[in-house]
């Protein structure tokens, strides 16, 4: 797979047409399992985002062995934009992380990490600090930053280079509620509680509008709480090999048992709407 670009070269009065095939890139990004490094147990996914991202990477390598296939740990907004913006011709992007209607939460990190050429100690950072460019901002990419944080910024998607993507990219957000939710009647809305009806107000929609080509997909499920869950085998053990997650209500309908047999693609909504 690849994109063929045609150039006309003129050397010493002679014009030659040259076609150049640029390899396409399949990128997988994953955040930390925790909501923030000190958060409680309920939403801590442990290493599951890492494991499912690696499974997706293996699928990409098998399907498109001649493409550039990359998988990266991405615990901050700096990593998110830095990785995407420094790649070319991204044709498929899968993102495994926490999320909500207005953004993705990459979780932050424990230990030391280089952020913007500086070493940052995640164990000493206040990940709940709501200041602009502080802990909470660092671990999230959001479209209404000034509503949630003490910030003058609105959407952080201004930092995203759409030129990093191919002409027809497919982007998949597997985390919770990034493309909105379904109401009790199954209608696609933005959010049940607080009630926000228009799903065009979601992060997935704004991401699709920003890149302006191809499709963005996000898992959408029912209910005010909940979001996405990992698939399981017959014993309820989480398994990752198909690189897919499921809406929580669908998983719960099977008591979280043997959900690997359920096809997730039925529950993906396509953006822009």
């Amino acid at each position: 797979m690849g994109t063929t670009n045609i150039f006309k070269l003129q050397i010493a009065g002679i014009t030659k047409t040259v076609s150049l095939k640029i390899k396409t890139t399949n990128l997988v990004l994953y955040g930390s399992g925790f909501i923030e490094p000190n958060a409680g147990n309920a939403h801590n996914a442990g290493d599951a985002f890492k494991e499912i991202a690696e499974a997706r990477h293996e699928i990409n390598k098998k399907k498109t062995p001649t493409d550039i296939n990359e998988v990266h740990f991405c615990p901050t907004d700096f990593d998110f934009f830095n990785i995407i913006n420094n790649l070319k011709n991204i044709n498929r992007l899968d993102i495994y992380c926490h999320g909500w209607l207005h953004g993705i939460n990459l979780g932050g990190f424990k230990g030391k990490r280089i952020i913007n050429s500086k070493e940052v100690d995640g164990d000493k950072l206040d990940w709940m600090d709501k200041g602009q460019n502080k802990g909470k901002d660092l671990r999230r990419v959001e479209i209404h930053e000034n509503l949630y944080l003490n910030s003058t910024e609105t959407t952080e998607l201004v930092n995203l280079k759409s030129s990093s993507f191919s002409a027809t990219p497919n982007v998949y957000f597997w985390g919770c509620n990034i493309g909105g939710q379904l109401d009790s009647k199954g209608k696609h809305i933005a959010n049940n509680k607080p009630l926000i009806t228009d799903p065009k107000k979601s992060f997935a929609q704004k991401f699709a509008e920003k890149i302006g080509k191809g499709n963005v997909y996000a898992l959408v499920g029912k209910g005010a709480a909940g979001g996405s869950m990992f698939k399981t085998d017959k014993k309820g053990k989480v398994i990752f090999y198909d690189g897919e997650m499921l809406p929580a209500n669908i998983s719960k309908n099977s008591n979280d048992i043997n959900t690997i047999i359920i096809d997730s693609t039925k529950y993906l909504k396509k953006f822009p709407l």
Partner: protein, 164 residues
């Protein structure tokens, strides 16, 4: 003599104020706890950083309210909280979630306490939220209740050892 009488009187008033304050605090703590069943949003990183108004009131009390929350762990009356639109939480689930919220994950090893008590097998490949439901939801009502009672004892023991 007059001086002593005045002193006695002042001490009596102070003591009575102290007792009244304690009683009213205890009463209001209990009153707040009675509203557990009406919780519909836990604290999150997004729309409800402090949870809904009931959560906020309870969590404002800090760790002093934990014994009252522990007492509710085996309360199986339905709450208004419905997970993913399909799973109706019991009052006991609200209590456990709020206890979890009152500690950092390094302080309260909730997953470990659950696993040590209920699972003999290796649970590394299981999500906490699934293990939780296996213990408290996915059995007969009687078994679910027995498990809640067992877990109440475990949390109670953990808490009492901590405050010693």
């Amino acid at each position: 003599m007059k001086k002593y009488r005045l002193l006695y009187f002042l001490v009596l008033i102070s003591f009575s104020c102290f007792v009244n304050k304690r009683l009213s605090q205890e009463y209001s703590d209990k009153e707040v706890i009675e509203n557990l069943k009406h919780v519909t949003s836990f604290p999150d990183d997004y729309f409800f950083p402090k949870g809904d108004s009931i959560c906020e009131k309870i969590l404002k009390r800090g760790k002093s309210i934990i014994p009252l929350l522990i007492a509710k762990i085996d309360d199986t009356s339905n709450s208004d909280y419905i997970y993913a639109g399909v799973l109706q939480y019991k009052v006991g689930d609200i209590a456990i979630n709020l206890i979890d919220n009152l500690y950092d994950n390094s302080e309260l090893p909730l997953r470990k306490l659950l696993v040590d008590e209920f699972f003999k097998k290796n649970t590394d490949d299981y999500q906490y939220i699934m293990l939780y439901d296996f213990v408290f939801f996915n059995n007969t009502e009687k078994e679910n209740l027995e498990n809640r009672k067992r877990f109440k004892k475990i949390i109670s023991k953990w808490y009492n050892e901590r405050i010693k």
